[in-house]
C-alpha cells in the first residue's frame, strides 16, 4: 500500500478525446507563439528602422501589454474556464497587476515627475 504511485487507466474513447483536446490546445499554442514572435520582430524592426522615439516607445509599450496578456491566457492557462477555482486565480492575477500598476504610476508621478 505504502509508497505506491497511482496509475490511471483510460478507455479508448477517453484516450481519443484527450488526444483531440491536446491537439487543439497545441495548435492554439503554436498560433499564439507565432503571434508573440511576430510582435517581438515588429518591436525590434521599429527600433531598427529609426523612427522617432516618441512614436516607437508607446507602440512598444502597447505591444508589451498585449504580450503579457497573451502569455497569461495561452501559456499560463488563465483561459481555462473549467479549471479548479479559476475565478480566484484570475482575481488574484488582476489584483496583483492593479497594485503593480498603481506603484509604477506613483513612482512615475511623485518621484520622477514630481507633480
Amino acid at each position: 500500500m505504502a509508497h505506491d504511485t497511482p496509475t490511471v487507466t483510460r478507455t479508448s474513447a477517453q484516450h481519443e478525446y484527450y488526444k483531440q483536446n491536446n491537439k487543439a490546445t497545441m495548435q492554439k499554442q503554436v498560433v499564439n507563439f507565432a503571434i508573440m514572435i511576430f510582435l517581438t520582430l515588429v518591436a525590434f524592426s521599429l527600433v531598427g528602422a529609426g523612427f522617432s522615439a516618441n512614436l516607437v516607445l508607446p507602440i512598444i509599450l502597447l505591444m508589451a501589454g498585449v504580450q503579457v496578456v497573451l502569455q497569461l491566457y495561452s501559456f499560463m492557462h488563465m483561459e481555462e474556464k473549467t479549471a479548479h477555482e479559476i475565478g480566484v486565480v484570475t482575481m488574484f492575477m488582476w489584483t496583483g497587476m492593479f497594485f503593480a500598476f498603481l506603484m509604477i504610476l506613483a513612482f512615475v508621478t511623485i518621484i520622477w515627475w514630481n507633480l
Binding site: 500500500m1 505504502a2 509508497h3 505506491d4 504511485t5 479548479h84 477555482e85 480566484v88 488574484f92 489584483t95 496583483g96 497594485f99 498603481l102 506603484m103 506613483a106 513612482f107 508621478t109 511623485i110 518621484i111 514630481n114 507633480l115
Partner: protein, 634 residues
C-alpha cells in the same frame, strides 16, 4: 504509527521536530520561536524605558540605544508578532476547515526554518560587532552610512526570514482555496480563516517590494552599488517608497489575524453568532485592498507635494470605514449575548476600546497638515503601540488562553489569567497613554535622552513604571504556562463548552492525521449546529473510514535553510562591503552555503516522495490507545 504517543528519548524528539511536516508541531515551534524573540524584544523595550526613566540618564549609551530601538522594532514585527500569528494560523486553520494538513507540508517546515534561522542570524549581530542601528525602517540615507556590520545583518536576516514568510503565505492561500471540507463554502469559512486568507494575500503582494528593496540595499551595502546614493545619481526616496509599499500592508498582515482571533473569541463567549458575518468578510477584504493604496501617509513630510499628500490622506481615512464596521459588529455581537467573562473574553473586551483609541489617533495623523506637527514625535509612538499592543498583543495573549487547550490539551489557570490581564492592561495604558501628551509637548521619538524641566520628566517616569507592569504581566503568563505544564489536567474536548467552529469538534489529544474522516459542514459555525441538534458524535462525516494519505517527514527544509544561513555569513564579510573588514573566507563560505541550498533543492526535485498511507487498522489501534475505546464515530 501508534508509537507516536509513546515516550521518546530526547534525541529522537529533537530529530522529530527538526524533520516534522505536521502543521500542529510546526505551530508549536512557531509558538516557541515567536515567544523567544518576543521576550528578547520586550527586554530591549524595558532597557530603553529604563534609560528614558530620568532626564540625562546614562544607563545605556546613545549607540546602544539606537541598536536597542532598531532591534526592538524589527524583532517585534518580523520575529515575534508574525511567527506568533503563524503559530495560531498553523494550528487552527487546517483544523478549522477540516483539512488533514496545509497544502504543502514540506514548504510549511521550510517557512519555519527560514524564519527561525533568519531571526537567529539577525540576533547574532549583538555578539558580532553590533546590532543594526538605523531604525526598523532602515532609511537608506541613514543605513548606507551606518558603520560596522549592523545594517548588513538587518538586510540578510530579513531577506532570509522574509522568504520564509512569503512561502508560508502562499501555502495558506493554496490551503484555504483548495482544502476546505465538503460544504464549507467561502461564505461559511470562520472569520479567522478569512482573515488568514486575506493576510496571506497581503503577504503575497506585500513582501516582494520589501525583497526588492532589501536586494537593492544589499547591493549598495555589500557590493558598492549606488541605487540609493544621491551623490552618484541614486535616489534615496525609492527605498522609502519600497519599504512602505511593504510596510503599510505589513501592519494589516499583523492586525487582520488578530481581528480574526477576536472574531472567534467574542461570539464564543457572547454565546451568539457573529453579528454581520458577511459585512465582516467584506470589511476584511476591503481593509486588505485599501492597505495597498495608503503607503505614502508614512512619508507626508518627505515633500511629495500637496496633490500626492491629499490623495493618500483621503485613501487613509477611507480605511476607517471598514474598520469601523468591524468594531460595530463586535459590539453588536456582545450586545444582547449571554456573556461569560473568561480570560480570553476579558482580553477581547479590553481590545475594543484600546484599538479604537489607536485607530482614532491614526485618523488624526492621516490629516496631512496635522501630521507635519505630529511626525517623528512621541505621539506617533503612542499611536502605533496602541494599535499593535492594544490590537495584536492583546489578541495574541487572549488567544493563547483561548487556544491553549487545543495546542496542549491543558487549560491555563483562569484566575491567574485574569490577574495577568489586569496587570498587563493597566501597564499598557500607563506606558503609552501619556506618550500622546509627551508627543504633543514636543518630545521627539528615537532620542536616547532629554533635558530636565521641559515638563516631560514625570510622564516619562510613569511610562517606565507602566513598562515594568507589562513585563510583570508577561512573566505571570509564563508562570501560568509553567504551572499548567506541571500540574495541568487534560482539558478534553470542547473545554470552553460554547465553542462554535470545526477545530473544537476534533477529539483531544488530536491524532496526527486530524479528523479521521473529513467532516461535512452544514452551515456557518458547524460544530455549534451539530451541538444544537444533539449530535453526540461531534460531527457528521462526509466519507467512510479509509486509509489516510500522509506526507513523510524530511530534514531537507532544515538543510535548505541552513545553507542560506551559512551563505549569509559569506555575504556579510564580502570584500566589496561598506564595513571594510572583509575576510578571506567570505566568498568560499558564500559559495558553500549556496551550494548546500541549491543542492538540497535539486535533491528534493529529483527524489520522488509520495508519502505513505495510514491503514484503517493502524487508525483504530491508535485511537484505542488515545481514547481507550474501539470505534467511536461511525
Amino acid at each position: 504509527m501508534s508509537s507516536s504517543v509513546k515516550k521518546k528519548g530526547f534525541g529522537a524528539t529533537v530529530w522529530d521536530y527538526l524533520t516534522t511536516v505536521d502543521h500542529k508541531k510546526i505551530a508549536v515551534m512557531y509558538l516557541l520561536g515567536g515567544t523567544l524573540f518576543f521576550v528578547i524584544a520586550g527586554l530591549e523595550a524595558v532597557l530603553m524605558r529604563i534609560q528614558l526613566m530620568y532626564p540625562e540618564n546614562d544607563f545605556v549609551s546613545a549607540g546602544t540605544f539606537n541598536q536597542l530601538l532598531t532591534m526592538h522594532g524589527t524583532t517585534m514585527l518580523f520575529l515575534a508578532a508574525m511567527p506568533l500569528l503563524f503559530a495560531f494560523m498553523n494550528m487552527i486553520v487546517p483544523l478549522q476547515i477540516g483539512a488533514r494538513d496545509v497544502a504543502f507540508p514540506f514548504l510549511n517546515s521550510l517557512g519555519f526554518w527560514l524564519f527561525f534561522l533568519g531571526g537567529l542570524f539577525l540576533h547574532l549581530s549583538f555578539f558580532m560587532g553590533g546590532a543594526p542601528d538605523a531604525g526598523w525602517t532602515s532609511y537608506a540615507s541613514l543605513s548606507l552610512y551606518s558603520p560596522g556590520h549592523g545594517v548588513d545583518f538587518y538586510v540578510l536576516g530579513l531577506q532570509v526570514s522574509g522568504a520564509g514568510t512569503l512561502i508560508s503565505g502562499i501555502n495558506f492561500l493554496v490551503t484555504i482555496i483548495n482544502m476546505r471540507a465538503p460544504g464549507m463554502t467561502f461564505m461559511r469559512m470562520p472569520l479567522f480563516t478569512w482573515t488568514t486568507f486575506v493576510t496571506s494575500a497581503l503577504i503575497l503582494f506585500g513582501f516582494p517590494p520589501l525583497t526588492a528593496g532589501l536586494i537593492l540595499l544589499l547591493f549598495d551595502r555589500m557590493f558598492s552599488a549606488k541605487f540609493f546614493d544621491v551623490m552618484y545619481g541614486g535616489n534615496t526616496i525609492i527605498w522609502e517608497h519600497l519599504f512602505w509599499i511593504f510596510g503599510h500592508p505589513e501592519v494589516y498582515i499583523l492586525v487582520l489575524p488578530a481581528f480574526g482571533l477576536f472574531s472567534e473569541i467574542i461570539p464564543t463567549f457572547s454565546r451568539k453568532r457573529l453579528f454581520g458575518y458577511s459585512s465582516m468578510v467584506f470589511a476584511t477584504i476591503l481593509i486588505g485592498f485599501l492597505g495597498f493604496m495608503v503607503w505614502a501617509h508614512h512619508m507626508f513630510t518627505v515633500g511629495l507635494g500637496p496633490t500626492a499628500n491629499a490623495i493618500f490622506a483621503v485613501a487613509t481615512m477611507a480605511i476607517a470605514v471598514p474598520t469601523g464596521m468591524k468594531v460595530f459588529n463586535w459590539l453588536l455581537t456582545v450586545w444582547g449575548g449571554s456573556i461569560k467573562v473568561t480570560t480570553p473574553m476579558l482580553y477581547a473586551l479590553g481590545f475594543i476600546p484600546s484599538f479604537v483609541a489607536g485607530g482614532v489617533t491614526g485618523i488624526m495623523q492621516a490629516t496631512a497638515p496635522l501630521d507635519y506637527q505630529l511626525h517623528d514625535s512621541y505621539f506617533i509612538v503612542a499611536h502605533f503601540h496602541y494599535v499593535i499592543v492594544g490590537g495584536i498583543v492583546l489578541g495574541l495573549l487572549g488567544s493563547t488562553h483561548f487556544y491553549w487547550p487545543l495546542f496542549f490539551n491543558r487549560m491555563l489557570n483562569e484566575t491567574l489569567g485574569k490577574i495577568t490581564f489586569w496587570i498587563f492592561f493597566i501597564g499598557f495604558h500607563m506606558t503609552f497613554f501619556l506618550q500622546h501628551f509627551l508627543g504633543l509637548m514636543g518630545m521627539p521619538r528615537r532620542v536616547f535622552t532629554y533635558m530636565p524641566d521641559q515638563g516631560w520628566d514625570l510622564f516619562n517616569f510613569i511610562s517606565t513604571i507602566g513598562a515594568f507592569l507589562m513585563s510583570a504581566g508577561v512573566i505571570l503568563l509564563v508562570l501560568n504556562v509553567i504551572i499548567t505544564a506541571i500540574k495541568g489536567e487534560p482539558a478534553g474536548n470542547d473545554p470552553w463548552g460554547d465553542t462554535r467552529t470545526l477545530e473544537w469538534a476534533i477529539p483531544q489529544p488530536i491524532p496526527f492525521y486530524n479528523f479521521r474522516q473529513t467532516p461535512l459542514v452544514r452551515g456557518l459555525d458547524p460544530y455549534w449546529i451539530e451541538k444544537q441538534e444533539g449530535n453526540k458524535e461531534g460531527m457528521v462525516y462526509a466519507e467512510p473510514l479509509g486509509d489516510i494519505h500522509m506526507p513523510n517527514n524530511s530534514i531537507v527544509p532544515f538543510v535548505m535553510s541552513l545553507g542560506l544561513f551559512i551563505a549569509s555569513f559569506g555575504a556579510l564579510y564580502s570584500p566589496l562591503g561598506v564595513a571594510d573588514d572583509s575576510r578571506t573566507w567570505a566568498i568560499p563560505v558564500l559559495v558553500i552555503g549556496l551550494v548546500i541550498t541549491f543542492g538540497s533543492m535539486i535533491y528534493r526535485s529529483l527524489k520522488d516522495d509520495h508519502g505513505y498511507y495510514v491503514t484503517v487498522a493502524e487508525i483504530e489501534a491508535l485511537e484505542e490507545e488515545l481514547y481507550g475505546k474501539k470505534g467511536g464515530n461511525k
